[in-house]
């Protein structure tokens, strides 16, 4: 007689934001085997980038891969295209780009924290974090002129400049936000019923993180010191006060804490950028057509985003390869599910911060 039962989670499930299907092989309450199906929202962006759009327009196309990390997608593509054109941005452009990426990281991490709270059964905490998140969304709205699709980064620079009023708004909102984050850190640390759901649940061990090539907050929570922000020299992150956040336990609690402390770090970095913005042009003319091959890695909120762009000297590109963070995170995620309880699965899943529209592109 068969000893195990199969329980699916997804493709439509109350704990999911986007369609993904896990098939859990369960022994009583314990999960012993996992199978994942991720391709429900495949749209063929890679093909569209090479067949339907010219290289100057592709930056706006890839921004539509994912709503949450729109800015990191367009940034990675733009960096790759600029490498092919032999153009290096000046400091002001770099700082403005970093500012938007860090703001993006703050609101994405807050969304994940809110969702982890909701999936663990804390509806009110979800509402509270989402309301606080509006402070960052307002900032991005004011800087880029749109709420979700920023279209802020163009080849050769950025589309909008920072005015003194915006700098004041950044300081005002970030001060408000950092108070709320401090309160959240206390809450996540000390609340007893939160700790029941988070501590020791969904553990990723350090050896597994190495074996399955985990990345982003998932790896850093397990103690694997990897961050693309220190592994690339495209942006001067050391100058604006970047510190790597590491935890060691690898459970949901550790992942939440990596995110919370990264938010604190990002707030400090955003303030530094707003205060010490170098002078310079914000949009420079670029010449030529992309020729050759370039690879770019950028730290998205969920981990490493990788772009490989190859051009042949024409208006159309030959290949645009998008490797998104969740795509390479899935093997590690499947490993974490094994030997945990089925009832914990929604909370564990939310703590990975999976982004299916990125994965299936």
């Amino acid at each position: 007689m068969k000893k195990t039962i199969q329980i699916p989670l997804g493709s439509q499930h109350i704990s999911l934001l986007e369609p993904i299907r896990f098939k859990f092989e369960c022994e009583n309450e314990k999960i012993i085997g996992v199978d994942a199906d991720v391709g429900f929202v495949h749209r063929g962006v890679e093909l569209a980038c090479t067949r339907s759009f010219e290289f100057k327009q592709v930056g706006y196309v890839v921004a539509r891969v994912c709503g949450l990390c729109a800015i990191t997608h367009s940034l990675s593509y733009t960096l790759a295209a600029e490498k092919l054109l032999g153009y290096e941005a000046n400091d002001r452009i770099k700082y403005l780009r970093m500012l938007m990426v860090e703001l993006d990281r703050i609101h994405s991490h807050m969304l994940c924290l809110a969702h982890t709270a909701e999936n663990a059964g804390f509806e009110a905490l979800f509402m509270q974090i989402m309301a606080d998140r509006e402070l960052v969304m307002d900032l991005q709205e004011a800087i880029s002129g749109n709420r979700v699709q920023f279209d802020f980064i163009a080849i050769g620079g950025v589309n909008r400049d920072l005015t003194p009023e915006l700098t004041a708004l950044i300081h005002k909102n970030l001060t408000l936000l950092s108070e709320k984050i401090d309160a959240l850190i206390g809450l996540f640390n000390n609340n007893w019923s939160l700790s029941l759901k988070y501590k020791g649940v969904g553990v990723l061990r350090l050896e597994d993180a190495y074996t399955y090539n985990a990345l982003g907050p998932l790896a850093r929570a397990a103690g694997l010191a990897t961050d693309v922000r220190v592994e690339t020299s495209d942006f001067p992150y050391e100058d604006i006060g970047y510190t790597m956040i590491l935890e060691s336990t690898g459970d949901i609690h550790a992942r939440n804490f990596v995110r919370l402390r990264e938010i604190v770090n990002s707030i400090a970095m955003c303030r530094n950028i707003a205060d010490n913005l170098p002078a310079g042009e914000i949009l420079e003319k670029t010449k030529g057509k992309p020729k050759g091959e370039a690879v770019v890695r950028v730290e998205a909120p969920r981990g490493e985003l990788f772009y490989l762009v190859r051009g042949n000297g024409g208006n159309m590109l030959e290949r645009v390869r998008i490797k998104t963070p969740t795509f390479s995170g899935i093997p590690a995620m499947m490993e974490v599910f094994k030997s945990s309880e089925y009832a914990d699965a929604p909370a564990i899943l939310a703590s990975f911060d999976p982004c299916m529209s990125c994965t299936a592109k």
Partner: protein, 143 residues
């Protein structure tokens, strides 16, 4: 437990977080990206905006006689402002306003009408080219 009840009581008298939307207007930040606007008088018909537009929301219809006709689909537009940056006469011929488009209803023909128009524009270009070619050969034969 008393502490949590006390917090709950305080929260009852806190102001609400949400905006009372349809009754009150949402205040948008200054410089919010809106519709692209066009002035026929200053346009020099260089077609640069049509070429750079990522979704192809700006089209020019080419009649056999006379000036080109500008057509813009506000529902296809992604408000990126690339056309304004490409325009040789920005703020005169083409600029980005802060007004927003109302949601499309069936009568607007946001999709169907636009597909027809896209075809018509393509056809008009070809017709114009053919007519030009024909007149050229005619001129030559007259000489």
């Amino acid at each position: 437990m008393f502490k949590s009840m006390f917090t709950a009581l305080i929260n009852l008298f806190k102001p609400v977080h949400t905006v009372n939307y349809p009754a009150e207007d949402i205040v948008l930040p200054k410089g919010y990206r809106g519709l692209i606007e066009y002035d026929k008088e200053s346009c020099i018909f260089c077609d640069k905006c049509e070429k750079v537009c990522p979704p192809g929301a700006i089209l020019f219809y080419q009649p056999l006689e006379g000036e080109k006709e500008y057509r813009y689909n506000p529902w296809l537009c992604i408000y990126c402002g690339e056309c304004v940056r490409a325009c040789p006469k920005p703020e005169e011929a083409l600029w980005q306003s802060e007004t927003k488009q109302h949601s499309a209803v069936k009568e607007d023909g946001a999709n169907e009408g636009w597909f027809v128009y896209e075809e018509a524009c393509k056809q008009s270009r070809e017709d114009f080219k053919a007519a030009k070619q024909a007149s050229k050969t005619q001129n030559k034969s007259e000489e």
